[in-house]
Amino acid sequence: MSGNDAFISIQALSKHFGPVKAVDRIDMTIGGGEFFSLLGASGCGKTTLLRMLAGFETPTAGDIHIDGVSMDEVAPHHRPTNMVFQNYAIFPHLDVRKNIAYGLRVLRLGNAEVDRRVDEMLEVVKLPGFGERRSNELSGGQRQRVALARALIKRPKVLLLDEPLGALDKKLREEMQLELRALQQSLGITFIFVTHDQEEAMTLSDRIAVMADGKVLQTDTPEQLYEAPNSREVGAFIGTMNFLRGRIVALELDPETIVVEAGAAGTFRVAGTGRGRTVGDPVLVGIRPEKLSVSVTQPADGTNAIQGRFAAMSYLGDRSHYFVEVDGLDQRISVASQNDLQHLLAVGQLDFGAEIWLTWAPAGAVILAD
């Protein structure tokens, strides 16, 4: 984060559509120059929140401040924000130049200055020479660039992006992600990016707010969200996670470790502080698939291990996903593993139903709020 840490501050913001609480008492602060993503499944309220920032929806309750100014009474056309719409909303009756220059009319610049700025933006979004085209003569990726240029030419304090890459194919999307990130870093503008694609949010963002049912579940850096989700929902939404339900049976001090007894999954150690917890507390333990290793021989005593049967596998080229059935657990445990030589030798020839062991380090698991 650079500059002001609370460049945008959202307090107790709610938006109700009849009985539906699209956004439910959200508090949030976003720093100046930050690339901030709102991530969630469709209907979680992320687009409504973005539209309230732009001024297209009036909050039912709560307040938004941008750069210290309350947006309560500010109409959309006077806000220091610009938006890239999901369908790009390119004006069909205007060519690319006039689309990009659209917002400059309010600034009452001379023709020469307008031309200079449009040319500059066409360079920035890599569309020089496309000025005379109409929107129906552009590809999806080009339209996306025009929408971006049109929003950026007014040099907004905040750029709002509503799933702008959703309609692009995978290759183009990845290319645009890199360009967006580079653009944001060179311009230093605050980007607020709405997406349902967790990979996209992880690639682009400084911080991500994971939303569900109009509420924010967790706001954190991509790394923290992945490694230390605070709840089952976040763990399950960002990537894949195996969950084991159990009870604390002992708290160890050096190193700080929590010993968990998890029924069919046996007893194992989780690295972490026991502060605030007592022996006997029920806990939910989450383990990422790639933290688990597969072993065909029984590991030494004292190692975290579960015994199970090899049930299914999907081959993804660079890595594979294995699914392991454990007696007494109602869900299969998923294991991700790089397809290096050792694995191919050790597991590649395994038959379905073969007895295997899953092992993991105490630091590989996290304890979640249940």
């Binding site: 959309p76 056309h77 938006m83 999901q86 009756h93 009319r105 049109r150």
Partner: protein, 310 residues
């Protein structure tokens, strides 16, 4: 065996391939399939419109001599139409009345269409049907009802009199070009509302949000996005009213009075009482050419104007 087969097949061969080739051509060519769809209408058009029109054009180059028609080709009728000031005056008056009528109808219809397109969210169809309700009654009935409203002892005059606002009934209300404009505007409103509504309804709402986002207030948004994008509807609406009303002769006869005679009244008289069909044909064709030229210029000008605004 193989000889017998080839002999048996050969006569059928060319016939089948001719048929299937035609079929393939039909399936391949979109234009051909289009013409097939059009063909019933095309046949009707050819007989019911092109033929009379050809006769009309031919007749305009003939001359009436007493009860006979002289079929030697001449431009005399056109010469006469250009020289006699009454024809020109009536044509200009007709264009003026229809033009005013088209402008007023579009101006009054646009807000209605706009309201239904943008502010009515349920049962839009009911609203549209209600707006076009006047169109459900007979044309003559609508004209007569305006006579009742605008007449010497009509609704407006007796209303104003009973309020004490006027002593004598207002005589300019009925039997004037104003009465024609009012009657036509009401009668043709449905033709303006529908195309304007359709063009407004098609506008993607996110375009208006984008305009707001880029700093345009409501007025600028309307002028720079809504109006240009609804322009096809506005052009269609004004032409749909302008073109047929120039040639109207019923409304001017019933509510126009002596100052409200239009070119079509004159054309009607040529084919009727005056019995100078070639002159009637000439006037009809002149009217058509002028209306055509005005329409093309109008389309061109409005496109230019909108480009300038945006």
């Amino acid at each position: 065996m193989s000889d017998t087969v080839s002999i048996a097949v050969r006569p059928a061969g060319p016939g089948r391939s001719w048929r299937s080739r035609l079929r393939a051509l039909y399936l391949r060519s979109e234009a051909l399939r289009g013409y097939t769809l059009l063909s019933p209408t095309l046949v009707v058009m050819a007989f019911a419109m092109v033929a009379p029109f050809t006769i009309l054009v031919a007749m305009s180059f003939w001359t009436q001599t007493g009860f006979d028609i002289d079929t030697t080709l001449t431009l005399r009728n056109y010469q006469e139409a250009a020289d006699a000031p009454v024809y020109r005056a009536l044509l200009i008056r007709s264009l003026w009345i229809s033009g005013t009528c088209a402008v007023l109808t579009v101006l009054f219809s646009y807000p209605m269409a706009y309201y239904v397109a943008f502010h009515v969210h349920r049962r839009k169809l009911v609203w549209i049907i209600l707006m076009t309700l006047p169109f459900w009654t007979s044309y003559l009935l609508r004209v007569f009802s305006w006579k009742v409203i605008l007449g010497y002892n009509g609704a407006i005059n007796s209303g104003l009199k009973s309020l004490g606002l006027i002593e004598q009934p207002l005589e300019f209300l009925l039997y004037s070009p104003t009465a024609i404009v009012i009657t036509l505007a009401h009668a043709w409103a449905a033709f303006a509302i529908l195309p304007i509504y359709v063009s407004l309804e098609k506008i993607d709402r996110s375009l208006l949000e984008a305009a707001a986002d880029l700093g345009d207030g409501p007025v600028a948004r309307f002028l720079r996005v809504t109006l240009p994008l609804s322009l096809p509807g506005v052009i269609a609406a004004s032409l749909l009213i302008f073109i047929p009303t120039v040639g109207d002769y019923i409304t001017p006869t019933l509510v126009g009075g002596p100052d409200g005679i239009m070119i079509a009244n004159l054309i009607q008289v040529q084919f009727g009482r005056v019995n100078d069909w070639p002159m009637g044909a000439t006037l009809a064709i002149l009217m058509m050419i002028v209306v055509g030229l005005i329409s093309v210029t109008y389309i061109w000008l409005s496109r230019k104007a909108i480009e300038r605004i945006a």
